[in-house]
Subunit: 245 residues, 2 copies
C-alpha cells in the first residue's frame, strides 16, 4: 500500500530561485500547498493550478492540522516554510502532530536557512564553529536565552541571532549585545542582513559596540563574529581556524 504523503518543504530565503530543485519538484507534484500567507505569496506565481491554503502567524497548530486533513482526503500536500523547515520551522510540529495520522508519511525537504543565506550576503561569517540563537522569548524563558548568549560568547562561537527584534521586544538586541560583551571584545566584527534574497536586501558590517546601538527589525538576521573574524573589503570573514592554514 502506498502511504499518503505530506512534504514539508523549506523554500529558502525569499526568491523562487533560492529553492532547491528537489523542493520545486515536490511542489510540482502536489495538489495543495499550505503555508503562512506571506510565504505562499512568494511562490504562488510559479505553481499555477495548485490549490493554496493559508493561515496567519501564530496559528501553526491549525496549519498543520489543515495540511493533514487535506492529505487524509486524498490530496498530495506540501507545507511550505521560508528558509529551512527544520530551523525554527514547521517540520518538528508536523512530526509531532503526525502521530495522530499514522497512515500519512511526512517527508522533510531541506532548504537554505536564513543563517546560510545571510552569511553569503555578508561574506563568510560562519566558516568556523557557530551557534544559532533565537531572541524570541515567546516559547523559551529569557533566562535560557541569556545563558546561551553568555556561554556561546565565552566559548568564542560565531553567533547568529534569529528574531532579533519585534514590536514588543525592541531592546532585546541591545540586551543581548550587553551579555555578549562580557566575553567578546566590543570591537568584534559583526554584521546584519535584512530581507535576505528578497526585494530590499541590504547588509552592513560593524563592530559589536556599534551593533548594540543599532535598531533592527524582525526581517533581519544578525551575526556576531568570533575572536578571529575580520572585515575584508566590507565583507565579514571568519578564518578556517586558529592557525594560519
Amino acid at each position: 500500500m502506498n502511504k499518503k504523503k505530506i512534504y514539508v518543504v523549506g523554500i529558502g530565503p525569499g526568491a523562487y530561485e533560492q529553492m532547491t530543485m528537489r523542493a520545486a519538484n515536490a511542489l510540482e507534484q502536489c495538489d495543495v500547498i499550505v503555508g503562512y500567507t506571506v510565504y505562499v505569496e512568494l511562490v504562488r506565481e510559479h505553481f499555477a493550478g495548485k490549490r493554496f491554503l493559508t493561515t496567519p502567524m501564530k496559528k501553526e497548530v491549525d496549519r498543520c492540522i489543515l495540511a493533514f486533513e487535506e492529505a487524509a482526503k486524498g490530496s498530495t500536500v506540501a507545507m511550505i516554510c521560508s528558509g529551512d523547515a527544520g530551523v525554527y520551522g514547521m517540520s518538528g510540529l508536523m512530526l509531532e502532530i503526525g502521530k495522530e495520522y499514522p497512515d500519512i508519511q511526512v517527508e522533510v525537504i531541506p532548504g537554505v536557512t536564513a543563517a546560510n543565506g545571510g552569511a553569503a550576503v555578508l561574506g563568510a561569517p560562519l566558516i568556523h564553529d557557530f551557534a544559532v540563537i533565537s531572541l524570541s522569548d515567546l516559547l523559551t524563558p529569557w533566562e535560557k536565552i541569556e545563558k546561551r548568549l553568555l556561554m556561546a560568547s565565552e566559548a568564542d562561537f560565531v553567533i547568529c541571532l534569529y528574531n532579533p527584534s519585534s514590536k514588543k521586544r525592541h531592546d532585546y538586541l541591545e540586551k543581548a549585545c550587553d551579555l555578549m560583551m562580557r566575553h567578546k571584545s566590543p570591537d568584534t566584527v559583526c554584521g546584519i542582513v535584512s530581507n535576505i534574497g528578497r526585494e530590499g536586501e541590504s547588509c552592513r558590517v560593524m563592530t559589536l559596540k556599534e551593533l548594540q546601538k543599532t535598531q533592527v527589525d524582525m526581517f533581519t538576521t544578525v551575526y556576531v563574529g568570533n575572536s578571529q573574524t575580520k572585515e575584508i573589503d566590507g565583507k565579514m570573514v571568519t578564518p578556517r581556524g586558529y592557525v594560519h592554514g
Copy 2:
C-alpha cells in the same frame, strides 16, 4: 566597467537536485568549474561542455589561486563546495585570497549545508537553538573544541558535529560524548546520518550513551539533542520551545 566574476557555489548535500536553482543557473553561466575532485564528479554530467579543474584535499589555497588565475584570464569561473560554501567551506578563503585580485568580484551562492540536509533525514532535530562544532583539530586547538562542547552542553543547545571522525581521530567522538555527558543526560536523544543525499544514505536514532560507543566515519554528521528532544516513530524531534505551544 564590468568586473570579472567568480561564483563560490554550495551545491548542497550530494545529489544534483539538492542544489538551488540559483546555484545551477550560475554553473550554467560559467566556462570553468573548479573544485575538490569528489564534488566535481557529483555535478559533471549535468554541465556538459564546461571545463573542469580539480585539486585534491588539503590543497585549498592552490585551488583558490587556480580559480582566480582562470578568472584573471577572462573565464567566468565557479568554485564549488559540497553543502554550503560558507560552513567549513571555501568562501572565507576565497574572500581572503581575493584581496590579491581586486578586479575580480566574488559572489557567494548559498547551499543546503550538511546540518540541515541531515536534519531533514533524521526528522527535526534543529528546530530550536543549536551549535555546530567540528571535531577536526587540524586548524583548531583541541582545548578550544573541548570548551565549546562543554559550554554548548551546559547551555542545553542541540549540538551538530561535523568531521566526527577520521583515520587519525577514531576516538574523538567518544571523547566528545564524555564531555557532553558532564552536562547532558546519557539518555539524551541523538542521531547520526551518513552519506546525506547520496547513494547509501542511512540514519539512526539512539541515546547519547549509545552514541558514545558508536563508530562513525568522516561522511557522517552527528546530532545531540537538547533536554527536550524526543524520539517520535523513529524520528529525532526537538520541540519549538520549553512551554507546550
